[in-house]
Subunit: 374 residues, 2 copies
């Protein structure tokens, strides 16, 4: 595969702006729109790589910030990278570490960020070049350029500075990545990130700057951080309009069904979020009629499975009553079964969404999802 | 199957006193000596019924005390019993609840025990007849007669009173069980329990009394409660000598390899213990060279699986280094993988033990285990 075309990406069908695509890399190929479960610390919480294989997950996300501190990138590199370490053979996308770091109130300058570890308080410095080296060490198939991700709401000047630094960092990150890729000959990909807060002009400027640098794919960052869905739509749209049609588009940190259909409706291809797995650990199951809290006493005597209309659930062997009992007495199997169920349900929803795009019925599908989840 | 011969049990081979047996019930047949994982609250902690099926477990134990309080026997009965509720289709043995109750300092008399729930402090009364009814409600294939189980060490008078009451309760329990079995025509089994502390005479007396009443199988209770292995051997032997050769013998609460070979060496057929699963949750793995604490820093860079000589482990897809990492960062998958591994290892050890009995090499096997685990 030509490194200039990594990942190989083709749009197979469109329905309005919604795209059905194929993303291919050396290790694995997948259909988009796709959802990436989050494996924060080298595992999707409660699951193993073999569980994810059975769920037919195509790509998972690893958190650079957590992995660089525990067990440390040198340990994972010595083991042959994150795939070898975790036993997962399909695709891995790593974030740059920026998102976690910005929750730690770091010292930021034009060259990088300095922050304190949440594990032991030790001081760390992360530059865009470091983030490239670390993600190469982790062996990510797709890595992210380090960006400046301010919280929302922020002063306009904060967002402006973030856009400027995100561009400077993106230049450093891309230059360093291309230098390494040319020298070492690997075929991994690097995505750039568009910032700009809720400001449509800043979104456009940031998008144009990142596209001008040129990446293998593009992410929309700095959204889905607490603002409402209606606040999110326009800045997302303004970001997408700057992006080339022939490269994959990744909206960071979104996983709820209504948000997913709205983002796909604007032309997004890839998503990640802790939402389905975190809900699972709190006893909430996703179903075709909405979310249900299985910890509630009213399910204690239910013989029905989680979702009668979704018999292919990995948890369909058990009743709501049994799962409610496991939750009530704190049995760890409950969190795992609900995690398996929620991911299976969400993967199935993504599959139905792709099908609706290919058959030209995406708007009907979108309405159906918004009626339940909007 | 004739209810008088439930479970159907035959000794297929002997090596010294060690027995290779076949225990058959309507639902499932298994080879003895057998180990029963403990599913305290309707699940072996971290696992599901399907996990246990993949491990080829034959029989699991459910704790009557916990299940009668949460979710309550009437809930489980309404669901069609513990098999239906948990999705487990092989055998279930339930304890009588006595063991847990005796840790709560109950008021005991010749007819039963009164105790406070650990869940909400509410007052409960349990008679031998109640214990039968509850275990019938749970749908246990094998149920245990309610016994008086004093801690060790105890005054001789305490042990004597326990033996007397255990006999009185056993009479009540057996009478009630046979009445129900005749009336309702089920083919489930009831085992009696021998008490007597560390006193060999009381062990013999208790054993003779329980055998005189006549049960479908016999358990040795009140041992493996903190005394040393050498203190345990003689009272176990004294108990076993009173038991009929043609009925299964169950030693309660034992699961370490050295203890298992010593008990099998005296003619025991069945075991249960939280030992392998509790160790797993604390990061300790059983291997062919002994136990190892995978949480230790020295495993951080190990590429080896838990046990190179046990490639059939369900955790062999991962390195000690990865499992150590999961333990270090508190990922729940670690406890599950170690639970699967420890049970698989112990089941394999039981299989090798049965093989050694059938080939007349049990003493070599016993020595090998005692050299590592003794």
């Amino acid at each position: 595969m030509n490194a200039e075309e990594t990942p190989d990406f083709s749009v197979l069908a469109k329905d309005g702006l919604a795209r059905l695509g194929k993303l291919s890399m050396d290790r694995h190929a997948l259909d988009t729109p796709t959802f990436m479960p989050v494996g924060t610390r080298g595992a999707v919480r409660t699951l193993t790589a073999l569980d994810l294989e059975e769920l037919e997950a195509d790509i998972i996300l690893g958190n650079t910030y957590h992995l660089m501190l525990r067990p440390g990138v040198e340990v994972i590199q010595e083991k042959g990278g994150l795939h070898q370490f975790t036993g997962w053979n399909r695709l891995i996308l790593t974030d740059s570490g920026g998102y976690q770091i910005f929750s730690l109130e770091p010292d930021v300058d034009d060259k990088g960020a300095t922050f304190k570890s949440t594990y032991d308080g030790s001081l760390h410095r992360l530059t865009p070049q470091d983030a490239v080296d670390i993600q190469c060490g982790l062996g990510a198939d797709i890595q992210m350029a380090l960006d400046v991700c301010p919280p929302l709401p922020s002063e306009k000047s904060v967002i402006e500075t973030a856009v400027v630094r995100t561009k400077l960092w993106a230049e450093d990150a891309r230059k360093h990545f291309l230098f390494k890729r040319d020298k070492e000959g690997f075929s991994n990909a690097q995505f750039g990130i568009v910032q700009g807060g809720l400001d449509l002009t800043l979104r456009r400027i940031s998008g144009e700057q990142i596209v001008e640098i040129g990446f293998d794919g593009y992410a929309i960052g700095g959204l889905s951080v607490g603002e409402s869905r209606s606040e999110m739509i326009e800045p997302m749209d303004a970001s997408i309009r700057t992006l080339p049609a022939d490269r994959p588009r990744y909206f960071m940190g979104l996983g709820d069904p209504a948000g997913l259909v709205e983002a796909v409706n604007l032309g997004v291809d890839m998503f990640d979020c802790v939402w389905p797995t975190r809900l699972a650990r709190h006893g909430t199951a996703l179903t075709n009629t909405g979310r249900i809290n299985l910890g509630a006493a009213r399910y204690a005597r239910s013989d029905d499975p989680i979702d009668l209309s979704f018999p292919q659930s990995p948890a369909s062997h058990w009743s709501r009553g049994y799962l409610r009992h496991l939750l009530a007495v704190g049995e760890p199997a409950a969190a795992r079964l609900l995690t398996l169920h929620n991911l299976a349900w969400l993967f199935d929803m993504m599959r139905r969404m792709r099908e609706s795009i290919s058959t030209g019925t995406f708007q009907e599908f979108r309405k159906e999802i918004l009626d339940i989840w909007g």
